[in-house]
Amino acid sequence: MSPLVKLLYLVAASLFIFGLKGLSSPATARRGNRMAAVGMLIAIVATLIFGDILSWTGIIVAAIVGSLIGLVFAKTVKMTGMPQMVALLNGFGGGASALVASAEYLRLGAAASDIPINTAISIQLGVLIGAVTFSGSLIAFGKLQELVTGRAVTYPLQKTFNALMFLGTLVLMVMLVVSPGQITAFYVLVAVALLLGVLSVIPIGGADMPVVISLLNSYSGLAAAMTGFVINNHGLIIAGALVGASGLILTNIMCKAMNRSLANVLFGAFGATQQVITAGSGADGDRTVRQVTAEDAATMLAYARSVVVVPGYGLAVAQAQHDVREMADLIEARGGTVKYGIHPVAGRMPGHMNVLLAEANVPYDQLKDMDEINPEFDRCDVALIIGANDVVNPDARTNQASALYGMPILDVDKADHVIVMKRSLNPGFAGVDNPLFYLENTSMFFGSAKDSVVKLVAAIKEA
């Protein structure tokens, strides 16, 4: 490959870095994304021009087919469906890397016995990570799209079986490195890697999906980087490493936000069984729930000077974000301020809730992350909680016996008034009771998120 094309790959990689840097603020993010896209265009065109292409038809047809499918995906996906979309795209990325590594290996064919050990290792790793990403992402997509059960699927001896699979994979890889010509062993490796992807995502519950998607995101990058080692290409290695780093950071943030270790998410099968709250579990004094009518809640909100809305996934499911924005507009028209306090795991993937609120035309300066909003609850008149539960459970701060203890939460209980909009007193995902509901400054407003918000909007107009 000529030095010129290598320099063009460097230009592309630099544009990727500038592009990611642009994402450090919503004001520059769109330009950043476009810079990265230009980088990709440069890399593709450079490859087409300097890649000694002997036959164009297949490549062009394949590129057009892929582009059209991508275009349709991007234009039609709903914002609530973004986690599935990202899972699917991760899968295609990983799949592409695995295919490239496999093709490179098969092309060597009989000559594969002569390939140097480092190329052999890169090929195995590229195929392994890529195939795990591909099948794992498809399962994650299925779970999020509710094609397969969102529950954690468990069976006897699951961990033992997975460990054996993993060992088997290692054995196959060593075999192939020692004697790279064994095509059968290679096919078995591909099959085992695909199975490993399925089996490692199946036991993970729906609410842990943010971690899994982030991790698969990282894998898709690492698979691309490994493929870069196979074909000796700096462009792939740099881009792959950037994505690998990005996925790892997000995985870490999600784990911290849920107060769980990565190992616990991957192997804990959290949410396999639904815990039931036994009646009378609260021997701790006052357990009175104060209910509030739409009119009273509306009065509180209409005269509040500062309101913090805490949206949970229930809000997104109910598609109530547009009504919430309408409510916020009414409060602001009366002179109050409205901010949104967003927990890192508020949606089904990192930052999901922010996208859903942005779609409802909520200005991004009102979207506050946990560390920004927590000091403000002391000065907040009303905290309005819509469809969130575990992320506002004060037990996480104070009750060492709670399953949530240690999880970072939004300190809504410090607000003057707390209005909780919820269907019922049922526990959240973690299956633990929430003492917030019984606090003196808490009012419960029962009903489905959408109906309740619509009622509030009407009542605030009257107030």
Partner: protein, 97 residues
């Protein structure tokens, strides 16, 4: 260990460091676009896909290469476009008149 491999490892490790530095500065608000955008970047496998299918024909490796081109292009086009669609929605509060 060949000289080439060492250079590749150096590039990989340094790029990881750059990635960590740049991405820790992305605010939580933009984490979803970050994922879809970085996802599009991992579609860089398109380069490899083009290179393995450059000879054309109907040999198995070339066919795998074509499929890889389709997959990678879905990733690239879908990823960048959906990210753009999301980022377009992030707007500042209009200035009060």
């Amino acid at each position: 260990m060949t000289e080439t491999l060492v250079v590749l490892i150096v590039v990989f490790v340094l790029a990881m460091f750059v990635g960590f530095e740049v991405i820790t500065k992305v605010p939580p608000t933009l984490h979803t676009p970050l994922m879809s955008g970085s996802n599009a970047i991992s579609g860089i496998a398109i380069i490899g896909a083009i290179l393995v299918s450059r000879e054309g024909g109907t040999e198995l490796p070339t066919i795998l290469g074509f499929v890889a081109v389709v997959f990678a292009m879905i990733n690239v086009v879908g990823g960048f476009m959906v990210t753009d669609r999301m980022l377009e929605m992030f707007k500042r509060k209009p200035e009060e008149q």
